[in-house]
């Protein structure tokens, strides 16, 4: 068995695609039509294009419990997932400039530096740098 896809629930796939590629810098790997307006969209990291793919899943639109869970995490400020970065400070600077809103500014916890931002698609995302 091999881990190839991890998913993230999004409220609007097209909007998410723009945010995750244009602002975060991921690269679109797959984009296939499914039923209705739904698509199978996966992204990869620029420097690990054969690595795991991030699936932008429209689940909250079609499965109420997913929406409830996503909203509850949001209300509690809990990130859906986290991504590794070389420098949290540099990413904070870069993302703030292009309008990304942070709920937690760069902070230290044990051996990591982290920050949390809003992906505008229903999730908080944490970025982490190993100190």
């Amino acid at each position: 068995m091999k881990i190839t896809v991890i998913s993230i629930p999004v409220r609007d796939q097209e909007k998410a695609l723009h945010f995750y590629t244009e602002k975060l810098g991921f690269i679109k790997k797959k984009d296939m039509p499914l039923d209705g307006d739904n698509r199978w969209i996966t992204l990869v990291s620029k420097d690990a294009q054969d690595g795991p793919e991030l699936l932008l899943e429209p689940a909250p639109l079609h499965f109420e419990p997913c929406k409830v869970f996503q909203d509850s995490l949001m209300a509690a400020g809990i990130p859906w997932t986290q991504f590794d970065v070389d420098s949290v400070d540099a990413e904070y600077e870069r993302l703030t400039k292009i309008g990304v809103e942070f709920s937690i500014k760069p902070s230290i916890f044990s051996t990591v530096k982290y920050a949390v931002f809003n992906d505008t698609c229903g999730n908080y995302i944490q970025i982490v740098e190993n100190l």
Binding site: A76, G77, I78, S103, I104, F109, S110, T111, N130
Partner: protein, 132 residues
């Protein structure tokens, strides 16, 4: 303060409040990052931080979740991938990232990536030429 921030700050107080220890393991990790290509071993690491070998091992595992040896191997494999992508030979790569024997490098590389270093290099090369 959100629920998440409250939880983080509780956890910090209950489990991660020893700043001196944290500073120490971060120092060890940085030392490995900067010297992965040399003949590193635990005795030397503990000597540079003035703590016993077993204490060092326990601390590192507690804060990074893996042993210094595992961390070092991961670092070397990661760096070797970069060298192989840049078309450095397998033998050169092996020594450039600090392995002492080609056999152990090849078998470790294969067990971590599913491919031998030369297979990996060939695949990366064909990938880069087909893209350009």
């Amino acid at each position: 303060m959100s629920f998440y921030e409250e939880k983080i700050s509780q956890l910090k107080k209950s489990h991660y409040s020893n700043d001196k220890q944290i500073e120490s393991v971060i120092g060890i990790k940085n030392y490995i990052d900067n010297n992965y290509d040399t003949d590193l071993n635990l005795d030397f690491l503990s000597y540079t931080r003035f703590i016993s070998k077993y204490h060092l091992l326990r601390l590192f595992k507690r804060y990074y979740g893996l042993t210094p040896r595992q961390y070092l191997i991961d670092k070397r494999i990661e760096k070797s991938k970069t060298h192989l992508k840049e078309q450095m030979s397998v033998t050169e790569t092996c020594f450039a990232v600090g392995f002492q024997s080609l056999g152990s490098f090849s078998s470790l590389f294969k067990s971590r990536t599913g491919q031998s270093p030369s297979q990996y290099q060939k695949e990366q090369f064909s990938r880069s030429t087909s893209h350009s």
